[in-house]
Structure formats: structure tokens, C-alpha cells
């Protein structure tokens, strides 16, 4: 039984303009799926739909089913807010693209991590403090960073803190929505490595969203290619890299190669 099964997912605006149509995929426990597409391909909307976080006014149809180990299956489409709340954090969490806005600018990083741990794991007092410290340590941050505000630390540290907050909830699935796009190239690799390690260590499933095929190919096992709201191709990383069938996929592959080439020039 898959942890997450998405079937014929479609999203449209209130007046019926389709934004995403007919997307289906499955993700087993511990599996790693990369979702790739240009901006406007619908990948971010899909991410938000998974956790029922779409803005009001958008209509969703199809099926999104979570089946966590040892729990009841949950149908996200049409679910009540309280059912979704039980799902978010405990079953699946998200790391967003822009760490400078995704974190509350007025709250210390440790407190933000603490808030989600407290909420999802019910910890209090010294246990909570210990959990926050270990979460920081897990992402390679000094414990003093917990006392800092987001604007006081670097972009990479912010993203690590965001990852810490997400992973400290002990979910079964981590959704990473372009987690490295906003970062410096040098930091990107570190954060990617961190994600890779965390997911492996804890046996998390990973849904990795990106426009960058090169990045996706490093961390994912399977790839789903989106274009203008529809899934156009899917397969293992090797399949996609070696035998892309769709012209859009080929274009993505081209641009990734260019980038790689450029990177290699810069990092001898």
C-alpha cells in the first residue's frame, strides 16, 4: 500500500479555468519522487493541494489519499479542516522555497521549531527544549541559532532551520518545494546533501519539487514531469535522463546540461 496515492487530480479556478488537470502518481513509504516543470507548470499548486493548503476560491477534484503506516487512510480532497490538521505535520510536512519569507520574521528560530514540535508531538517543558536542540543539531546548526531571529542568520541557515522544523514533526512524508532555489549555489549542495541524509536516516518519503532536472536527478528515484498543468512524462531518473520522450523533457534536460557544464567550469 502506498503512503500517498494521487489519482486524476485537477485544480481549476472558480470560473472553471483549469490550472492542473489529470495528475496521478503514487509514492510508497520511504520512496523519493521528483516533480519537475517550468514555472507555471502547476507543480507548486499540486504541492499545496496535497496538504489542502490551496487558496480559497480554487476547486479541486480527483483523489489524494494518504495511508500512513499504522493509521487510518485520509482522503484530502473534500476533507474537513480538522482532518487536514491531523494530517499536516504528523503525516506530511513541507519545506518551502523561500526561507526568508517562510519563517515568521518576528519569532526566534528555536521557538518556531518548538511550536511545531509541541503541536505535533505534544512535548512540553524540558522535553520540548531537548527536542528543539536535537532538531537543530540534526540539521547541523549550532544551538545558539535557536535564539536568533530569521533576519540575523544566513539564507542557508534559515533553510536548515525550516527543514529542522519540518523534520522535527516526525512525518512520514517530506514535501520539499524548490528548497534550494533561493540559495547560493555553494549552499545548495550542502542543503541537498542534508536533505538526502535526513530522508535516508529516518526512512522518510520525499516529494521533491524543482524546475532543475540536475538537482532532482541527484536526490530522487523517480521523476514526474509537468507541463502547463498536466503530467507529460514519468519514469525513473535513469529513464528520464537517458531516454526522454517528450520535447519539454528534452528541453529541461538540455538546460540542465548547460548548467552542469558551466558549474564544472567554475568548480575545477
Amino acid at each position: 500500500m502506498s503512503l500517498l496515492a494521487v489519482d486524476r487530480l485537477a485544480i481549476c479556478t472558480a470560473d472553471g479555468t483549469p490550472l492542473v488537470s489529470d495528475i496521478s502518481f503514487e509514492l510508497p513509504s520511504g520512496g523519493r519522487l521528483g516533480v519537475i516543470g517550468e514555472s507555471g507548470s502547476g507543480k507548486s499548486l499540486t504541492t499545496l493541494a496535497l496538504l489542502g493548503l490551496l487558496p480559497a476560491g480554487l476547486r479541486v477534484s480527483g483523489s489524494i489519499r494518504f495511508h500512513p503506516a499504522g493509521g487510518e487512510p485520509v482522503q484530502v480532497v473534500g476533507a474537513s479542516e480538522s482532518a487536514l490538521r491531523r494530517l499536516r505535520g504528523r503525516v506530511a510536512t513541507v519545506v518551502f522555497q523561500e526561507p526568508s519569507t517562510a519563517l515568521d520574521p518576528l519569532m526566534r528560530l528555536g521557538d518556531q521549531i518548538g511550536a511545531s514540535v509541541r503541536r505535533t508531538r505534544g512535548l512540553r517543558g524540558p522535553a520540548l527544549r531537548a527536542a528543539v536542540l536535537s532538531a537543530l543539531a540534526d540539521v547541523g546548526l549550532d544551538h545558539r541559532i535557536g535564539r536568533a531571529y530569521p533576519h540575523e542568520v544566513s539564507g542557508g541557515q534559515r533553510q536548515r532551520a525550516a527543514i529542522a522544523a519540518a523534520v522535527a514533526c516526525r512525518p512520514a512524508l517530506l514535501v520539499a518545494d524548490e528548497p534550494t532555489t533561493a540559495l547560493d549555489v555553494t549552499v545548495q549542495a550542502d542543503v541537498l546533501a542534508l536533505l538526502d541524509r535526513l530522508v535516508a536516516d529516518r526512512g522518510l518519503a520525499l516529494l521533491f519539487i524543482s524546475h532543475d532536472l540536475a538537482v532532482v536527478s541527484r536526490i530522487a528515484e523517480r521523476v514526474l514531469v509537468l507541463d502547463r498543468g498536466s503530467a507529460i512524462e514519468s519514469g525513473t531518473v535513469t529513464e528520464i535522463l537517458t531516454a526522454p520522450r517528450h520535447p519539454v523533457t528534452r528541453a529541461l534536460l538540455e538546460s540542465a546540461r548547460h548548467l552542469d557544464a558551466a558549474l564544472e567550469v567554475r568548480q575545477p
Binding site: 480538522s82 491531523r86 503541536r119
Partner: protein, 512 residues
């Protein structure tokens, strides 16, 4: 699984807001239930009378710039003079028991009433009277009456109860003028903020901008006041004042200045509108020195071109009175001169033609920016247009008026109100702002003041008055009404309010 803690947190903001809303609502509700600060329910001798007025004292010293308000609140109530001007205009002894005048009319000997004490407990002596009179004529005195005491030559207090005043020239109005002089405690160091008089009330408190309260003085030498407390409530806006009476916050308005509001009181049986005698005249004052108003015919033409009756009715409805000269009916030398310059457009046109202005002319009217002048100017503009005269209305502030018109005489015509009684004598002063210069009138006015008898004075001033009307020295548009509006619960209040005084000691209040 739901965590109860999460739910509790969700409700905190709502609960906080609710608490705040309830607290505010409760506060307002409490306020709504609280008793009004309006007229107290006590009646008879324990009553508090709430008086509404537009004239707050500037300070409490009538020789130190206290203004009209301090006369209204304190004159006769807290302070008393040697003489009293009654509400019907008679002069009677107050703090003097008797007085005598020498044969040449130059020495006045006053005997003070015995057993009179100030509110502070100090007995009244002639030294206080001397001090009080000197205060009025002192160099820094701001008393409006200062100039009328010009003839005083010397003041002495030969005994505790005897005051002697010698004059340089005869002054027939001397005793009358003394009714405006407050006898104050010579020992009071701060007369601008405290009051120590001999009247039926002592000053209880003065909250600037809001109220001035009087309390009955139990050690009063004469008949005790018929009520316990009187509170003057001050307003800067006539509508707010009227609303206060309509909502029972006050019992009585000393002087109604909003003609439009009268309808809502006359129509309501709970209020009485009292028409009293007034001394306030509205003038279209020409600058008689300069063309075209140095020409009598032009002045008379303008006078005849204005329908004063319609003007008065538009502004005051059935109230107020037309006058034909500077003298109001309450002055002893009053004569009805309203027909000296009748409303007659043809006459006006004829006079203009004779004066060489057959084709009309135009002039600028300096109009003070406060009521009723702007609206009167608007009216005059449309009236004079009918005889070919174009009026340019120039609105000026009171400040400009004093500098430009009053001091520099830099104007052609202006509007102004003159509030005092017996002020026709200003036409005897050629240097006054309107520049009326008739040697004859000047002589009559001087002779009148030095007359031996009141009859002689009256005859002379009547003569002067007729001459003024004939010369149309100014256009006397109308006499303001003096309107006291009161709740029918109260009675015994003065209705004439001569010279802004307002005796409150006779006011009583019914229950209910």
C-alpha cells in the same frame, strides 16, 4: 486525535475581544444610567439654578478686562455697587444709605450702609469704596466706564462710613455711572481669579471654559437669595446652548443669540420666551469724513433705500425693534424717530440724483466676520442694488476691524453693534471712528453732561438726537431683542438684562 490545548489557544483572542467589548459596553451603559448633570431636583430655597450663557468671563475683574461675562455673572450677585440699576432701568441706593450733593454739583458725600461685610468676613469701610473707585480710573484700568469718570477730581474717605468725591466739572450721570462700580475688598490680592464682594452670593468655583458657580452667602446684609446655588454654564456656540436647554441641562438662557432657534421654544409649552428691553443697536456706520458719505443726502438716500422691517424680520422674526436713531427706548431721552428716514425707494433715488449720484455708485462695506454681520451685509447688498448702489462686501476679523476701522479710520462704511446704553454721546466726539463732526451736537452733548437737572440733560440730548437722525449720521438698522428663554419651571429672573447684568437672586424653581 485532537489536543485540547490547541483549542483553548484558539479561543483566547475571541475571549479577549469579547471581554473588552463587554467592558466598554458596560462602561457606556453605566454612564447612560448615571444621573444627568442637569438641573437638580431640589426646589424652593435649596434649588440649584442652571444658567446658560455665551459670555464666559475672561477673568473675574471688571476693571481688568473681565468683559461682558463677568458683569453678567457677578454684578449684583457677588459684587455690589454703591447704587443699583434695577432691571427696569432705575437707579436706587444699594451700599449707600444716603448721599448729598453740594449746591454747585461738584461735591458728592456718600454715607455707606452699616453692617455690611464681605464674604471673607471683613466689614465694608469707606476705604474699600475709595479703593474700588480708584481702581476704575487707574491708568491701567480696562473698564469700559473709565472715560465717563473723567470729571473726578478727588476721592477721600474721611470716616469709616463716609466717602467724598469731588468733580472738576458737573456730571449729571455721576450717580448713574457709579452703579457700574463694584465695591471690592481692598485687601483682595488676586481679583482676577477670586472674588470677595458684598453680594448675596459668594463665588464657589470657576472651571474655565465650562462653568462658574455661585453659592448663597448666608451673612448677606439684605434679603437672602431665593435659591441655594447658581451655576453659569458657558457655551461658545448658540446651537449648543439651545440644545442644552432643550435637553434640560440648563434652566435658562440669559441672552438668546440664535434667532432661528426661537421657533423650537415658542412652539413648546415647557419653555417661555421673554422679550425684554435691550440697548444693543446694529449700525451701518459710514465714514462721515470721506466721499460719498460726507454728503448728508447720500447718507439719507442709503437709509431710505433699506427695508429695515424686512431685515429685522428675516433675522429675528417677530422679535427686536426698529429705531431711527442711536437712542434705545430705555434711555430717558428716547424719541421715536423711525420716520425721520422712512423706507422709500423713490425718495432714495431722488436724493441720490440731487447728490449727483443719479447713476448710482459703489462702495466697500467692511463686514465683521461674525454673526449677524455677514448675513446683514448680504441683505444690504441686494437692497441697495435696487437703487443702483453696488456694495462690495469685504469680510474682516474683529482684529482687523479694531486696527483698520476703529483706530485708523480707514474705511468707507462698516457694520457694527453697539451694546451700551446712553452711548449716543459718542456722536459728540468728532474723533470717534465714524467721524461725525457737528459742532452743534458736540456742544449739546457736553452741555447735557454738565446740566444741573435731569430734565435739562434730557432736553439737550433729545435735541442732539433729532439732529443726528436728520443728518443720518449712521444708519441705525435695528435694536436687537433681549430674549431670555427659560424653562417654565423657573421664575423670578430678570428679562431686560440691561448692560449685560443678570440678577439671579430672585430666581425660584418649581418641582418637576
Amino acid at each position: 486525535m485532537t489536543e485540547p490545548s490547541t483549542n483553548v489557544k484558539e479561543h483566547i483572542p475571541v475571549r479577549k475581544i469579547l471581554t473588552a467589548v463587554v467592558a466598554v459596553a458596560f462602561g457606556l451603559g453605566l454612564a447612560a444610567c448615571a444621573p444627568d448633570d442637569g438641573p437638580s431636583t431640589a426646589s424652593g430655597a435649596d434649588a440649584t439654578i442652571d444658567v446658560g450663557s455665551l459670555y464666559e468671563p475672561q477673568n473675574l475683574d471688571n476693571t481688568g478686562g473681565g468683559g461682558q461675562g463677568v458683569t453678567e455673572a457677578l454684578n449684583g450677585n457677588v459684587y455690589e455697587g454703591l447704587f443699583r440699576l434695577t432691571d427696569d432701568g432705575k437707579v436706587e441706593n444699594l451700599l449707600v444709605s444716603d448721599y448729598s450733593v453740594s449746591g454747585d454739583g461738584l461735591t458728592y458725600t456718600f454715607t455707606l450702609r452699616s453692617g455690611v461685610t464681605f464674604h471673607s468676613g471683613k466689614p465694608l469701610t469707606a476705604a474699600d469704596a475709595k479703593y474700588s473707585l480708584e481702581k476704575v480710573i487707574a491708568p491701567d484700568s480696562k473698564s469700559a466706564r473709565k472715560s465717563s469718570f473723567g470729571p473726578i477730581g478727588g476721592i477721600t474717605a474721611p470716616g469709616d462710613s463716609t466717602l467724598v468725591v469731588t468733580l472738576k466739572t458737573r456730571s449729571i450721570s455721576f450717580v448713574y455711572n457709579l452703579s457700574y462700580v463694584w465695591i471690592v475688598n481692598a485687601g483682595n490680592q488676586s481679583p482676577t481669579t477670586t472674588a470677595d464682594g458684598t453680594g448675596p452670593y459668594r463665588l464657589a468655583s470657576w472651571q474655565r471654559g465650562a462653568t462658574l458657580s455661585l453659592s448663597r452667602f448666608d451673612g448677606y446684609w439684605g434679603t437672602k437669595a431665593s435659591n441655594k446655588d447658581v451655576v453659569f454654564h458657558y457655551f461658545t456656540d448658540a446651537s449648543a446652548l439651545n440644545n442644552a436647554l432643550l435637553t434640560d441641562q440648563i434652566d435658562i438662557i440669559t441672552s438668546e443669540q440664535s434667532p432661528d432657534a426661537l421657533d423650537q421654544f415658542t412652539a413648546n409649552p415647557a419653555y417661555r420666551v421673554n422679550d425684554g428691553a435691550s440697548t444693543t443697536k446694529l449700525l451701518l456706520a459710514f465714514n462721515d469724513r470721506v466721499a460719498p458719505f460726507d454728503n448728508v443726502k447720500v447718507r439719507k438716500a442709503v437709509y431710505s433705500a433699506i427695508d429695515r422691517k424686512k431685515l429685522l424680520e428675516s433675522i429675528w422674526g417677530p422679535h427686536g425693534k426698529l429705531i431711527g436713531s442711536m437712542v434705545p427706548p430705555s434711555d430717558p431721552w428716547y424719541e421715536d424717530l423711525t420716520n425721520a428716514n422712512p423706507y422709500d425707494i423713490d425718495l432714495a433715488k431722488r436724493l441720490l440724483a440731487e447728490a449727483g449720484h443719479g447713476g448710482g455708485f459703489s462702495f466697500t462695506l467692511d463686514t465683521p466676520n461674525y454673526d449677524p454681520h455677514p448675513i446683514v451685509a448680504t441683505f444690504l447688498k441686494s437692497e441697495l442694488a435696487k437703487v443702483g448702489i453696488t456694495v462690495t462686501i469685504k469680510v474682516i476679523s474683529a482684529d482687523e476691524w479694531y486696527t483698520k476701522v476703529f483706530q485708523k479710520h480707514d474705511f468707507v462704511a462698516t457694520l457694527q453693534e453697539h451694546v451700551n446704553d446712553r452711548d449716543v454721546v459718542w456722536y459728540g466726539n468728532p474723533d470717534f471712528y465714524w467721524g461725525y463732526d457737528s459742532p452743534q451736537v458736540t456742544r449739546w452733548v457736553r452741555q447735557a453732561e454738565q446740566a444741573a437737572t435731569a430734565d435739562e440733560q434730557t432736553a439737550l440730548l433729545k435735541q442732539a438726537n433729532r439732529q443726528l437722525a436728520q443728518d443720518a449720521a449712521s444708519v441705525w438698522l435695528y435694536l436687537y431683542p433681549q430674549i431670555v428663554v427659560a424653562s417654565t419651571r423657573v421664575s423670578g429672573y430678570p428679562v431686560n438684562g440691561l448692560n449685560s447684568q443678570f440678577y439671579v437672586y430672585g430666581i425660584t424653581k418649581r418641582e418637576g
